[in-house]
Amino acid sequence: MRVLHLSWEYPPHIVGGLGRHVYYITHELIRLGVKIDVATVGYEDTHVIDEGVNVHLIDAFKVRVPDFTSWVHSFNIFMMMDLSHISDVDAIHVHDWLTAPAGIVLKHRFKVPLIATIHATEYGRRGGLHSLESRHIHEWEWLLAYEAWKVIVCSSYMANEVKSVLGVPGDKIVMIPNGIDKALLSFKPKYDRSRYAYPWELLIVFYGRLVYEKGPDSVIRAFAKLLGRISNIKLIIIGDGPMREYLVNLANQLGLGSKVYFTGKVSDDELYSIIAHSNLVILPSRYEPFGISALEAMALGKPLIATNRGGPTDFIRHMENGVLINPDNPDEIAYYAEMLLKDEGLAHRLANEAKGTIMKGYTWDIIAKRTYELYKAIIEERTKVNW
């Protein structure tokens, strides 16, 4: 079985979670005996083997373009021309609209099934379609879903979104969640706790892009309320984004001063070290198609307060393996944070249960097996179709 993945992100070129997703799923599929090609953005046209994965790096900067959508289309054109020599592909797997144009053309070129993973929709990301660019992207998302043999989504929330926003019929949608690297389950911090907090301080952590949809402002507001009840706490905000300056000002206005520490972007080792040393993780996203960050906290065995919107509701059961809250209600966040920080037994029980949840169904080897079964079924269906 040979599957061609088209993705605009692949390590080391990583913008969001998509690149990691493609990296882990392809490497696990290789272990299952699938031949994998990945076409992705590069700075010259070249070809490398990455632990068994054939990576086609496409120079995506050959022409000047005025905007992002034009760049996406030019990248797709370069990709199609570069991949013209490929043959014997059994299926094409596209990740989001960014590689949909090439995926659709190549599907008809090879007459093989097109599989689309829709990680998020433009409508969901922007809260509607408010510009020509958004409408353009939305239409390509629709076309991708229309041309796909199956549409993979990572959560039941996203299944509903692609149904309602893109009009995808239910029997075309397959829900396969994201996963985490198994190594995270036995991660040992690379840095001392003293690097981040005094021994007597209880550490609360938020990490993610500093954008409105991730809810970092709600964490700061909840922290301010919590500080009135527990004094030996510290909040670390990890990540960067357009909201950073606003958040720094907000923390100052609320008189939080040295109690809130902004790290900016950090390495994975440092990120996981901080989480591993923390007493509580709070991730109150307002829009969360899946919530891989929540999975990471659970894999590291940390008590977690997460959003009751979107993907996390698939794998977090309130007060069983985590806490689900309304991201726009800092009082609620503070209430449960106080409960978990004061009741170590409860926090420990939830964290243990969370780790068990991950081990049972959310590591990449398990996710890859489900993807492999889907590939097999689709390729078998293709043999019965006159095309």
Binding site: V63, R64, V65, S74, I77, S84, V105, H108, S131
Partner: protein, 192 residues
């Protein structure tokens, strides 16, 4: 010889004739008159009537909204190639493509369509962006000029209908193009 042409435009009944439409239609007729089979692929939602025994295939665009003309040119070319797959049969000897949009279609067709895999790509330009606009001070024009440079370099043969265009190819893009001002002569050169 079997020839397939790619163009953004082809004459339509009831619409004013553009320079590009005139060029595509007259060159198609000239090629046909030399005894070749000619099929023109263009984009459009309604079927364009065949003219002078030249078969014209209009390919509809599912995407309706575009942020700008560059996005439109790149995106619509991809859609045309994606949707032409089941509308043409057999193999072609020559691809004739017009302006940068048609050339992207032609190059993509050669890269991805079984009917065009062995065809020679001939590109014909009415003008370059340096003649039409001011690429040095306009972001859209600059982008189009950049795309023109890349696209025309990928083609096997490039023709200009004006000396100025051919000069621009050389000075701006470092491309050697042939200056062929007469349509009948162009048809003969392409099929030689």
């Amino acid at each position: 010889m079997r020839i397939i042409g790619f163009s953004w435009e082809y004459p339509r009944i009831g619409s004013p004739l553009t320079d590009l439409q005139y060029l595509v239609a007259s060159l198609s007729s000239a090629l046909k008159a030399l005894g070749h089979e000619v099929i023109i692929i263009t984009q459009g939602s309604s079927q364009t009537p065949d003219f002078d025994r030249v078969k014209v295939i209009s390919v509809g665009l599912p995407i309706k909204d575009y942020p700008n003309v560059v996005s439109y040119g790149l995106s619509s070319s991809i859609q045309v190639v994606a949707n032409m797959r089941y509308k043409v049969n057999g193999e072609f000897n020559k691809i004739v493509c017009f302006e940068w949009g048609g050339c992207i279609m032609g190059l993509l067709a050669k890269a991805t369509q079984p009917c065009c895999l062995n065809a020679e790509v001939n590109c014909i330009a009415l003008s370059t962006e340096y003649e039409r606009g001011d690429p040095d001070s306009d972001i859209i024009g600059s982008s189009i000029a950049s795309i023109e440079g890349w696209v025309f370099r990928q083609c096997d043969r490039v023709y200009g209908l004006k000396q100025r265009t051919v000069d621009d190819f050389k000075s701006r893009f470092n491309i050697s193009a042939d200056y062929v001002p007469a349509i009948d002569e162009l048809a003969r050169v392409i099929t030689k």
